[in-house]
């Protein structure tokens, strides 16, 4: 009961942060839950969301409509709580998200080279969010590394883990190399002004 209250409090704090994201993000969360936990898991997540006062039905989510980003973050937090997911599971959730995403399919035309993908990344961000921004903070082809910066995103630290997996997958789609690593080197939740990820291969 105490944990549930804590999740409810977190939800209330999250909804105070302004910003919307496309329904596709919540839909891909639902697909991952369904993949890992089946339909029962999906129902359990919906039930928990309703319990904490933020009911949602995954199949009714419209991919291109705007929803509060808080809702998307809450789905991750709820999944972590009810399924006992670890950081690795959340990272896997982020890693899987581009696999199902309609938006990723729409912007796949930018994925024919890493350079083009990086160039188009601000546009890619705008497809997903109506707040914040993304920028390439550094690209060293010789050293085989890219630094991606996210500005003005401050919902919850769980998303840092999610993004780690997410960016790794995007890199896996545009770099012909399977030994890709992604780490968060700066975090707005750890006193930095922005989030920064280093992708190396």
């Amino acid at each position: 009961m105490e944990e549930q209250l804590s999740l409810k409090q977190t939800a209330e704090e999250l909804t105070r942060v302004k910003g919307n994201s496309r329904g596709e993000i919540i839909r891909t969360h639902g697909l991952f839950i369904s993949y890992k936990k089946g339909e029962e898991g999906l129902t359990a997540a919906e039930k928990k969301m309703a319990e904490i006062g933020y009911p949602l039905v995954f199949k009714d989510i419209k991919p291109l409509d705007w929803y509060p980003e808080a809702l998307s973050v809450l789905v991750i937090l709820v999944s972590r709580e009810i399924f006992g997911w670890t950081e690795a599971d959340v990272e896997e959730m982020g890693n899987n998200a581009p696999k199902y995403s309609l938006i990723v399919k729409m912007v796949m035309k930018y994925f024919f080279s890493l350079e083009r993908c990086l160039k188009e990344s601000p546009k890619y961000w705008d497809y997903h969010y109506d707040f914040g921004s993304i920028e390439v903070a550094g690209f060293d082809k010789k050293a085989q590394q890219v630094f991606i910066r996210i500005n003005d995103y401050k919902f919850h630290p769980i998303v840092c883990v999610f993004y780690r997996g997410y960016f790794k997958r995007i890199a896996q789609l545009v770099i012909s190399n399977q030994g890709i690593a992604c780490e968060e080197v700066k975090s707005a939740f750890k006193g930095d002004v922005y989030h920064e990820y280093r992708i190396s291969w």
Binding site: L31, F32, Y35, K62, P63, L64, D65, N96, K99, Y100, L102, K105, M108, K109, F111, F112, S113, R116, R169, Q172, L173, V174, I175, S176, Q178
Partner: protein, 218 residues
Amino acid sequence: MNIESAGKMNPEEIIKQKDEDIKRLNESLGDLEFYLRDLSALIPIPICSLSPFDIIVDANNAFQKISEYSLAETTGTPIDVLFLEKKELKDILKRVVIENTARDQEVTLISKSGRKTPVSLSASLRRDQEGNILGYFLAFLDISERKEFSSKLELQVAERTKELQEKIKELEKINKLTVGRELKMVDLKKEIKGLRRKLEMQEKKDVAINQAAKNIAE
């Protein structure tokens, strides 16, 4: 919204109208996505799309069924992982870049459980309007039944050929025997003819001797 009506609108109305247009477009795009998803789910032919780096980015239900991998498992995987003939597959894709398509290339798909399925692969290249390569579409036809039928047929042909060869050998043997007998008969006939001639000569001789003896006695 047309230009004429837009001209009569105030900025707030124009923004509202544009928002509605965007909403409608988004709905249409969503509907289109559902339509494509349903259509793709219905198609019984395994289909997948690849990034320019030969990585699977999407696959339909039929592909998931034949490969025994879910979409989450296949997406992001290099395509050659699923095939026995890795080099041949790379060569096919290289050819597709030059020729835009490839048709009926035989390769073997290895499923999650290790089952090997011979498939006929067709591929086409995806380019954007600027000519950049966006990836490939691949379609597979399960030809295991055709291959099985073909190998059964080959086996049957081989068995029939063996049977025929045995029959030919037998016939040759019979033929040899027959020819041998015929030749023997010809020889025998010649011998009979010779003997008959000898006999006739002997008879003639005997007649002459008898006649001579008769003449002497007289």
